[in-house]
C-alpha cells in the first residue's frame, strides 16, 4: 500500500453508486490536504462502528479502531482521553449512532469531547439488508416494517444541539466539495464536531431525486447564534418534505473534555513514593 493514496490493499465491497465512496473520497482528500499542511498522519485515528460505513477502517490506510455497533463514541472518547493530541475522526452509521448508540452520542456532545463525527446517514440499515433506522421517514417500508413504520424519524441535529455539541453541520454526498469543506472545518474545530451527511443507499434507499430538489446551501447564517441554528435545523424534520439546509448550522468555542484530563504519567519511582506517602498518612 502507498501512503500517498491513503488507500489500503483491502478489496472494496461497497455497492456501485454507494454514498460511502463520496465520503471516503472527501475524507481522504481532506487528510491528504492537512498532511501536506503539516498534520502528521500518524496523529490521525479513525474509529468506525459496524455497518457498510465502517469498512472505511479497512479501506483507509490510517490508524483505526474498527469497533462494534453503536460504540464509536465511547471508543473514540477513550482514545482522546489517552492522548488529547490525536486527531480522532469517527465514522458512524445512522443505525450505529442514532439507534444502538444514541446514549453515547448524546453524552459525547454533552462532554464536548474533541472528536470529528461523520454520520453516514442513509436512513436505512444496509448491511442487515434493509430495515428502518431512527431517521427513516414516517411510513418507511423496510423488511422489519413491511407495511410502513408507525413512528416518526427524529432530527439528529436537533438532538445534538440540545445535548451540547459545539459544531453542527449537514452535508449531502452529491455535493462533494461542500462535504470536503465541512469535514475540514469539523477537524479544525476543537470540541465535539458533528456532521450529519445525507447519503443514498444504492440498494435499499435512494431518495437522491428528493435531496437534489430540496437541499440548499446556508448563506448569511450566523453559526454563533444558537436560536438561529435551532430554527434552521428544525426547518426539515426528516419526515415531511421541506427545504433542507446544508452547511454549518452552529460553531462555538467551549472547553473540551479531554483537555481536563491531561496528565503527565508518573514514573515507577514517583508512583512508589506516592503510594508510600499515601499509606503513611492513612
Amino acid at each position: 500500500m502507498t501512503r500517498t493514496t491513503l488507500i489500503t490493499d483491502a478489496r472494496n465491497t461497497w455497492c456501485p453508486g454507494c454514498g460511502n465512496f463520496s465520503i471516503q473520497h472527501a475524507l481522504k482528500a481532506v487528510l491528504l490536504e492537512m498532511v501536506s499542511e503539516g498534520l502528521p498522519l500518524e496523529q490521525v485515528v479513525l474509529v468506525t462502528g459496524i455497518g457498510c460505513h465502517a469498512k472505511m477502517a479497512d479501506y483507509l490506510d490510517v490508524n483505526s479502531f474498527y469497533s462494534i455497533h453503536g460504540r464509536v463514541m465511547p471508543v473514540a472518547t477513550g482514545i482522546a482521553l489517552a492522548n488529547p493530541d490525536l486527531t480522532v475522526i469517527c465514522c458512524a452509521g445512522d443505525g450505529d449512532a442514532y439507534a444502538e448508540g444514541l446514549d453515547h452520542l448524546i453524552f459525547a456532545a454533552k462532554r464536548n469531547i474533541n472528536l470529528t463525527v461523520i454520520i453516514h446517514n442513509n436512513r436505512v440499515y444496509g448491511l442487515t439488508t434493509g430495515q428502518y433506522t431512527p431517521t427513516s421517514p414516517l411510513g418507511f417500508r423496510g423488511r422489519s416494517t413491511p407495511r410502513g413504520t408507525v413512528e416518526k424519524a427524529f432530527n439528529p441535529l436537533e438532538l445534538v444541539l440540545a445535548s451540547g455539541g459545539t459544531f453542527l453541520a449537514r452535508g449531502y454526498t452529491r455535493k462533494q466539495p461542500m462535504v470536503r469543506a465541512l469535514i475540514r472545518e469539523a477537524i479544525r474545530h476543537r470540541g465535539f464536531s458533528f456532521i450529519d451527511v445525507l447519503q443514498i443507499c444504492a440498494t435499499y434507499n435512494d431518495p437522491h431525486e428528493m435531496y437534489d430538489r430540496l437541499t440548499y446551501s446556508l448563506e448569511g447564517h450566523d453559526p454563533g447564534d444558537f436560536d438561529a441554528a435551532c430554527r434552521k435545523i428544525r426547518e426539515w424534520d426528516y419526515n415531511r418534505e421541506a427545504p433542507i439546509a446544508l452547511g454549518t448550522f452552529y460553531s462555538v468555542e467551549e472547553p473540551s473534555f479531554e483537555e481536563r484530563f491531561r496528565r503527565t504519567p508518573q514514573s515507577p519511582a514517583e508512583r512508589e513514593a506516592a503510594i508510600r506517602a499515601h499509606l503513611e498518612e492513612t
Binding site: G78, R263, H278
Partner: protein, 551 residues
C-alpha cells in the same frame, strides 16, 4: 488466644461505618490486628446498619457471632443482636433512646450541653466503650483527632463528658504493639494494587460493592496523576477503557454483576482486538438486582465464560485486602503482558470488609509491558508469533498504522473472511492463552494452608478462605484456595489436593461453582458447604457446618 468482638449498631445515616473504623483504630492502638464487617441495607437513611469488629493477636479476615461489647444507638440494635452477647458481655447504649442492662449513657443531655450535632452520638458511644474497656483517654483522644476531620472540638467535648463519668468494667488488655498499619477496605487495597501495577486511568459507573473503589481513586486522582472517568453506563465504561488502552493508557474498570452484563460485548471485543483491560468485578447476590449490599460468589462461571466467542482471559479471586492488593498488581501486569482482559473477582465481603494492612505487602512498582515492536518493516498489529503475542504499538508512530479490529482480521488488522486466516487467528488466540496459563502455573496460583498430610481438605475461594483457615485449624484440616481461577490451575490444584481422600467445597453460592470447575478437570469433590443468604460465614456458623461434614 486473646480476642475481642465489638458490634456497633443503629440506623442508616448515623455514620456506623465510620464508627466501626474508629473502633478498629482504637483496638489497633491496643496492639490488636483488626477486621471489620459492615452490614447495611440498600437505602440512604433509616433501616438497620451495623459494624462488627473483631480484634485478634494475629491478622484475621473473619467474624464471630459472639460479641463482647454491644454498642447500641437504638433499641433495634439491642433486640436484633442481644443473642450475640458472650458471657460477661457488656451493652453500652444511649440511655436517651434505648432501654437495656449495662452502661447507659445520657447522650441527649450531653449533646445538648455541648451543642453537638446528632451524629456525635457515635463519639459518645465510642467514649463509653473506651472507658468501659479501659482504653486510656490519651489513646482515644489521639484516634478521634486523627479520624474525625471536622468538628473535632465538639466531638472531644462529648467524649470527655462521657469518659469522665464512667468506669472500667471489662478491660481489653493491651498487647505488645507492632507498627501501626493503615486499615484498608478491600476496595482500597485493590486500588493500591492497581496503582502499583502502573494504573493510569480508571473508568467506572457506580455499583455496589465496587463504588468505593471509584470513590477512592477519584479522591486520590491528583496524587497519582490518574484519569478517573464516570461515563453514562457500563457499556461506555468498557468501550472507553478499550479506546484508552489502544491509546496507551493502563486502565481498569469496576462494576458488579449487573453492570458487567452490559460490559460483555466490550469484553468480547477486548478478546478479539487483543486489547488489555482489568475488570474489578464485585459479586453481590442475584439474580438481577438481588441483594445489592450483600455478598456471594455467584459470578465465577459468568466471569470465565462471558462474551461471545472463545478468547483467553485471566481471573483472579483474592480472599482479603492483602491478596486483593497483590493480585490486582499481577492482574494488571499480566493483562498488559498478554494483551488480554483480566478480572479481579472480589465479593462484597472482600471489597467492603476492612483490616489492618501491612504496607510491606504492596508489590514494587515495576509495570510489565507487552512485547514492543522492534521497528523493522511494516508494523502489523496482529503479527504472528510463536506464543501468540503480537508486538504492541500505540499511535502515534511515524510511518506506521495501528489497526485494531472487532472482525476476524489479518496480521495488519484488516477484516477477512478467509478460512485459513480465520484458523490462524483462532489458533493465535489459543497459543496466547496457553502462554498465559504457563506463566500462571509459575505464580503459585493455588494456596494451601494446614497440615500437608491432612486427609480432609476444604476447597474454597475468595472471602470464604480466611474463615475456612480459622475453622480448619481446630480440626487439623487443610485449606486449599485457588487464587487464580482462570486459566484454571488444574495441575497446581491436583498437587495441592494430593493425599486427601475427602475434599469439601466451601462456597457462597447454590451450585458450588468452583467444585464444578474442578470436576470438569476430573478432580473429585466429595462434600459441599454452601451458603447463599448474602452474609459471610461466621466462625461459629462454619464450624458447625464443618463438624457435620467431617463427623
Amino acid at each position: 488466644m486473646t480476642e475481642w468482638s465489638v458490634l456497633i449498631g443503629g440506623r442508616a445515616g448515623e455514620g456506623l461505618n465510620k464508627a466501626g473504623m474508629i473502633l478498629c483504630h482504637l483496638l489497633q492502638e491496643r496492639g490488636y490486628h483488626v477486621y471489620l464487617y459492615y452490614d447495611y441495607p440498600s437505602l440512604i437513611r433509616g433501616g438497620h446498619n451495623f459494624s462488627l469488629i473483631r480484634a485478634v493477636e494475629r491478622p484475621v479476615f473473619a467474624h464471630r457471632d459472639r460479641v463482647d461489647y454491644l454498642l447500641a444507638l437504638n433499641q433495634e440494635t439491642v433486640e436484633r443482636h442481644r443473642w450475640r452477647l458472650a458471657e460477661g458481655g457488656v451493652i453500652v447504649f444511649d440511655a436517651s433512646a434505648v432501654r437495656a442492662e449495662g452502661v447507659g449513657l445520657p447522650l441527649q443531655t450531653i449533646l445538648r450541653e455541648v451543642q453537638a450535632p446528632d451524629i456525635a452520638r457515635n463519639t459518645g458511644i465510642i467514649a463509653g466503650f473506651s472507658c468501659a474497656a479501659g482504653i486510656p483517654w490519651e489513646t482515644m483522644e489521639q484516634v478521634l483527632e486523627r479520624e474525625i476531620p471536622r468538628g473535632i472540638e465538639t466531638n472531644l467535648a462529648v467524649a470527655r463528658k462521657v469518659y469522665g463519668a464512667g468506669c472500667t468494667l471489662r478491660q481489653i488488655p493491651e498487647l505488645p504493639r507492632g507498627r501501626r498499619h493503615p486499615i484498608l477496605t478491600g476496595n482500597e487495597a485493590t486500588g493500591i494494587g492497581l496503582l502499583a501495577g502502573g494504573l493510569s486511568s480508571f473508568i467506572a459507573y457506580p455499583m455496589t460493592p465496587t463504588s468505593n473503589l471509584l470513590h477512592f481513586l477519584a479522591e486520590h486522582a491528583d496524587r497519582y496523576r490518574l484519569k478517573v472517568v464516570h461515563p453514562e453506563n457500563e457499556i461506555a465504561v468498557m468501550l472507553m477503557a478499550l479506546g484508552a488502552a489502544y491509546g496507551g493508557e493502563r486502565v481498569a474498570v469496576g462494576t458488579s454483576g449487573g453492570g458487567f452484563c452490559l460490559m460483555t460485548e466490550g469484553l468480547s471485543l477486548a478478546g478479539m482486538a487483543e486489547i488489555p483491560v482489568v475488570i474489578v468485578l464485585g459479586q453481590r447476590p442475584g439474580p438481577s438486582t438481588g441483594l445489592p449490599t450483600y455478598s456471594c460468589q455467584t459470578e465465577l462461571s459468568f466471569a470465565i465464560s462471558a462474551g461471545q466467542g472463545e478468547f483467553p482471559r485471566l481471573v483472579v479471586a483474592p480472599a482479603n485486602p492483602a491478596q486483593a492488593c497483590r493480585w490486582s498488581t499481577t492482574a494488571l501486569n499480566l493483562a498488559w503482558r498478554y494483551q488480554v482482559p483480566a478480572f479481579v473477582l472480589v465479593d462484597k465481603n472482600v471489597a467492603e470488609g476492612a483490616a489492618d494492612f501491612d504496607p510491606g505487602g504492596v508489590p514494587a512498582v515495576a509495570p510489565r509491558e507487552s512485547v514492543r515492536w522492534d521497528g523493522t518493516g511494516t508494523y502489523g498489529r496482529y503479527a504472528g508469533t510463536d506464543d501468540g503475542i503480537s508486538p504492541w504499538l500505540s499511535p502515534p508512530s511515524p510511518g506506521q498504522t495501528v489497526k485494531v479490529n472487532s472482525y476476524t482480521h489479518d496480521e495488519l488488522g484488516i477484516s477477512t473472511e478467509d478460512p485459513l486466516l480465520t484458523v490462524r487467528l483462532q489458533e493465535k488466540l489459543q497459543r496466547k492463552g496457553a502462554a498465559l496459563a504457563a506463566e500462571v502455573g509459575r505464580l503459585q496460583p493455588v494456596l494451601s494452608t494446614g497440615p500437608a498430610d491432612a486427609r480432609t481438605v476444604l476447597l474454597t475461594w475468595g472471602s470464604c478462605t480466611d474463615p475456612c483457615i480459622e475453622v480448619a485449624g481446630e480440626h487439623g484440616l487443610r485449606v486449599v484456595q485457588p487464587v487464580v481461577l482462570w486459566p484454571f490451575p488444574a495441575e497446581a490444584l491436583r498437587a495441592a489436593l494430593s493425599g486427601a481422600d475427602r475434599v469439601v467445597a466451601v462456597e457462597q453460592n447454590t451450585t458450588a461453582q468452583l467444585a464444578r470447575l474442578a470436576a470438569a478437570e476430573g478432580i473429585a469433590v466429595h462434600g459441599r458447604i454452601l451458603k447463599y443468604d448474602g452474609r459471610p460465614f461466621s466462625l461459629e456458623d462454619l464450624e458447625a457446618r464443618v463438624r457435620e461434614v467431617v463427623a
